[in-house]
């Protein structure tokens, strides 16, 4: 089936099997491997991407469902010259990652939070990241990273 998807601002057209999962479409056809696979059952969240601005688990979406949609993956958050988005910067500076496998999905789930709620409390941050598992960090630094990013994003908005 022919699908047309805009990924990180670039439109592509592909002919895919209905059963192709969005996560495989992104990782293999589009070559964007920053979106990771960690489980089979839509639990871990490592595959989280933004679809039309909303965070979804791409392992539980068919590529054909994404026809006509706009997808943002972790690669799309960095600026054109590789500058880090405040969330990426925050996860780095606040040490919100160790092995890094869960990190892209975690960042995109946090991105959705900040776009809906620019000033989240710690409880709201935790609620928003319920769908993302991390085996390494203990989550405390992830919460701090999101707080750091929220402040930076608010500051940038004020300057704009």
């Amino acid at each position: 089936m022919k699908i047309r998807v805009k990924i990180n601002g670039v439109t592509r057209e592909d002919d895919v099997e209905p059963r192709l999962l969005l996560v495989h479409y992104l990782r293999e056809l589009a070559g964007l491997t920053g979106t990771h696979i960690g489980c089979e059952t839509s639990i871990c969240g490592a595959c989280t991407v933004l679809m039309n601005g909303a965070a979804v688990k791409s392992c539980t979406v068919l590529a054909v469902q994404a026809d006509g949609s706009e997808i943002t993956t972790i690669e799309g958050l960095s600026g054109r010259n590789g500058q880090l988005h405040p969330l990426q910067q925050g996860f780095w500076e606040e040490h919100g990652l160790q092995c890094g496998y869960c990190t892209p999905g975690m960042i995109l789930a946090a991105h959705q939070l900040l776009s809906r709620n620019p000033h989240p409390s710690r409880a709201e941050i935790r609620k928003a990241l319920e769908g993302n598992l991390c085996r390494c960090t203990g989550y405390q630094h992830i919460v701090k990273a999101v707080e750091w990013a929220a402040e930076k994003v608010r500051a940038q908005a004020e300057h704009a």
Partner: protein, 289 residues
């Protein structure tokens, strides 16, 4: 991890969808958000030859008041319900329930209609709509009908929907005066499904006695149910703490309780009482601001 091959259809109108559903019959499965069907297909526990994706039917995505009812289109997502200011005002139980479903990603795609039609014994919506005395609209090639929530959940993952019918909307009365509602849940730690989930709406009369009470319970048995035994103990009575606790002890009366890795049947029975009691207490607090 990858489903068996199938054909995918994406109808653009309800008529088209009904036509496809009728055409494919048993060989076709409907999909809304896909978060019930796709996991099963990925594990090859379900392998329909035709998947009918209702996701493009934007006409079924709405929340509105009409004729004294609140009406919600079947394809409204959990997130849309969670963030609806209309519902927060007129029926707080619904956003409260929505918030507890799965996680933020699941809520973006999962739909009210999809969840109700699938009727997972641990899903949250069935308990909520039972507590609200809601009605469910089913459309078929032959027309439409409204099904009372009490008649909708027939058995394990079985609803009153007939072959060829599509669930298109849910309607329910807004919260009356001197009433409170709530949804409380104990989450299965990994999946987020309800080990027990209780929706309560209760209304008080002038004498502050319980005039109406509806308790929907999920996660305990093969299907969500009304805790009628509890309701009978409370109707017309003053809601003292003791009465609530004694009535709540009957929360799982007559129900064949489930047992799984996380919770045994006895533990579920016990939890049902605890959560029914807690939900009643909270709803009562809200009825008496």
């Amino acid at each position: 991890m990858i489903p068996e091959p199938f054909e995918y259809h994406s109808p653009q109108s309800l008529e088209e969808a009904l036509r496809l559903v009728t055409e494919f019959g048993e060989e076709g499965k409907m999909m809304a958000g896909g978060h019930s069907l796709l996991p099963m297909m990925k594990l090859r526990l379900a392998s329909p030859r035709h998947v009918i994706d209702l996701g493009r039917l934007s006409e079924l995505r709405y929340i509105r008041e009409s004729d004294g009812w609140i009406e919600i289109g079947a394809l409204t997502t959990h997130f849309q319900i969670e963030s609806s200011s209309l519902l927060r005002e007129k029926c707080p139980l619904l956003p409260e329930t929505a918030r507890e479903i799965g996680d933020a990603q699941v809520r973006n795609l999962g739909t009210l209609g999809g969840s109700l039609a699938h009727a997972d014994p641990a899903a949250d919506w069935p308990a909520a709509i039972l507590a609200l005395d809601a009605e469910i609209r089913a459309n078929s090639a032959g027309g439409e009908r409204w099904i009372a929530a009490q008649d909708f959940f027939v058995g394990l993952m079985t609803t009153a929907l007939a072959p060829g019918e599509i669930l298109t909307a849910v309607r329910l009365p807004p919260l009356p005066r001197r009433a409170g509602d709530t949804y409380l849940k104990l989450r299965q730690p990994a999946s987020g499904f309800a080990v027990v989930g209780v929706g309560v709406r209760l209304a008080l009369n002038e004498a502050a006695h319980i005039e109406r009470v509806a308790i929907g319970v999920t996660g305990i048995g093969p299907k969500a149910y009304r805790a009628a035994a509890v309701e009978r103990e409370l109707l017309g009575k003053p809601p003292t703490a003791r009465r609530l606790a004694e009535a709540a002890a009957r929360a799982a009366d007559g129900v064949q309780t489930n047992s799984d890795l996380f919770a045994s049947a006895e533990y579920r029975k016990h939890l049902a009482s605890v959560y029914v009691r807690r939900a009643l207490e909270l709803a009562l607090e809200r009825a008496n601001p």
